[in-house]
């Protein structure tokens, strides 16, 4: 289970997150949607302290970290309990696909190389990248790199996978293959929090949609509640903006 309580974050005078509360149960798949610049990425990055929040608590499983006095060990603990998939993949350029997936298993989890290798091969198979295990990131398409990045994150056994617009840098064909990979991971019961602009994908994959605007969570509910029956005015506007005119058709 992950729980965010009273999370606030400003950059200089720019209040990006204000008092955000969010709970995600094990096995849930939650998507955050909302206009550009409303703090979706920042929220994700505050959960594993890539960005240090100003205020609030983050809980993942047994570990609660308060922004008032987080120790290095606490922050490390959050990173161990979460996995992150970035918009720009961020694979290690000097490592092969296989080494990318093994690296943190060996260095951080202290698994033996043999064990790490077996696990890496298993995850690469799952994301359909086994044949590419000896290639370097520079030799892969964006979609392939993202699938490796997903395998790399999953191999660390995170309690939750955080995905920040995992397909927004990809063209439609590659977007599909990465989305299929994410669906497969979902079937295995991985808890996920996904920021995405791919509304169709979010609708069919997620248990819950969270709509954010200007640093607040405005409304959350099942895809059906949010897309066909939004309560808040701002949500309605956003949905209408996404599906102009005949947006009902999509639902």
């Amino acid at each position: 289970m992950i729980k965010v309580e009273g999370l606030s974050k400003s950059f200089n005078d720019n209040k990006v997150l204000e008092n955000v509360d969010l709970t995600i149960e094990n096995g849930e798949i939650v998507s955050i949607i909302g206009p550009s610049g409303t703090g979706k990425t920042t929220l994700l990055r505050c959960i594993n302290y890539l960005e240090r929040p100003d205020k609030g608590k983050v809980t993942i499983d047994d570990l609660t970290v308060d922004a008032d006095n987080p120790s290095k060990k606490d922050i490390h603990g959050l990173c161990l309990r979460s996995g992150m998939v970035f918009q720009s993949y961020n694979l290690f350029h000097n490592k092969t696909v296989l080494e990318n997936v093994m690296e943190a298993q060996v260095i951080v989890k202290k698994r033996s190389r043999k064990e790490a290798r077996e696990r890496a091969l298993e995850e690469l198979k799952k994301v359909g990248m086994l044949d590419w295990k000896d290639h370097y990131p520079s030799q892969l398409s964006g979609g392939q790199q993202q699938r490796v990045a997903i395998a790399r994150a999953i191999s660390m056994d995170p309690s939750i996978l955080l995905l920040d617009e995992p397909t927004s840098a990809l063209d439609p064909e590659l977007t599909k293959e990465v989305q299929q990979t994410i669906r497969n991971i979902a079937k295995d019961g991985m808890t996920m929090l996904i920021v995405t602009h791919e509304i169709e994908f979010a609708r069919e994959l997620c248990n819950r949609i969270v709509f954010m605007d200007e640093g607040h969570i405005v409304e959350q509910g099942t895809p059906k509640e949010i897309f066909s029956n939004p309560k808040e005015e701002r949500t309605k506007k956003f949905i209408q903006f996404l599906f102009p005119q005949d947006y009902q058709i999509y639902i």
Binding site: N48, L50, H76, C79, L80, S82, G83, M84, F86, S88, N90, L91, F92, H93, N94, K95, T96, E103, A104, I107, V108, K109, H135, Y136, P137, S138, Q139, A149, R152, A153, M156
Partner: protein
């Protein structure tokens, strides 16, 4: 024209005996200078106040001054500086009291550090730092990330510039005759003056420099190729 092959053959052994000195003058500075340069680069990247400004001045001094001027300055200036600092300006120490070889090596280390620091800085800042975020998110520490991810990539970027500097310094060391250090060039010069055979001596020593330059650039190119392969690139 009277070109004495006999003199050339005779001089080979004198120049050859000075090879180790030329190699020491090249490879000690590019090794120690690299470590020093790394510290300079990190200090500049982290923008540590005061030190960063000092390093900027240091770099532009050593990168702007010709080596031969630097060595003359050391030759005439260093004893003076020591006398002013420790002996109230009395002429106690002269260049004869100093170990010229050591002075040359230290000077070249300081010179190399300025160049190599800039090369390292450029290489480090060319590495995509989003990888560092990914590593942090995976639970790797800053050190682990630098040692295993960032620095290996920076090395690959830095290698061509680094090796260029090594080759330039190999030739640059030939000015140490100004402070009476006996490297290949000095050895040739001494023989030339001894036998009044200048052309022969300098043709010979020029040949030595060319051979070593070609040899090392071959080796360096092979190393670069091999390193690039470790990032899935080909030259």
């Amino acid at each position: 024209m009277n070109f004495s092959w006999e003199f050339v053959l005779d001089t080979i052994k004198y120049v050859a005996m000075a090879i180790p000195m030329t190699m020491l003058l090249t490879f000690i500075p590019v090794t120690v200078g690299l470590m020093l340069g790394f510290l300079l680069a990190v200090t500049r990247i982290r923008k540590i106040p005061v030190l960063t400004q000092i390093i900027t001045v240091y770099n532009s001094f050593f990168r702007s001054i010709p080596l031969v001027v630097l060595f003359f300055l050391v030759y005439y200036g260093l004893p003076k500086a020591i006398n002013y600092m420790f002996h109230d300006g009395m002429r106690v120490v002269s260049i004869k009291h100093l170990n010229n070889n050591a002075v040359a090596i230290v000077t070249l280390i300081l010179y190399a550090a300025a160049f190599l620091g800039e090369i390292v800085r450029g290489a480090l800042s060319s590495v995509d730092m989003k990888q560092k975020e990914a590593a942090t998110a995976l639970g790797m520490t800053g050190w682990q990330t630098y040692i295993r991810i960032i620095i290996p990539q920076a090395i690959i970027v830095a290698l061509p510039n680094y090796f260029n500097f090594v080759l330039a310094l190999l030739k640059g060391t030939s000015v140490v005759f100004t402070i009476s250090v006996v490297d290949m060039m000095s050895a040739a010069k001494l023989r030339a003056e001894y036998g009044y055979r200048y052309v022969e001596a300098y043709v010979l020593v020029g040949f030595f420099y060319i051979v070593f330059s070609i040899l090392f650039s071959r080796i360096f190119l092979a190393i670069e190729r091999n390193a690039k392969r470790h990032m899935g690139q080909t030259i």
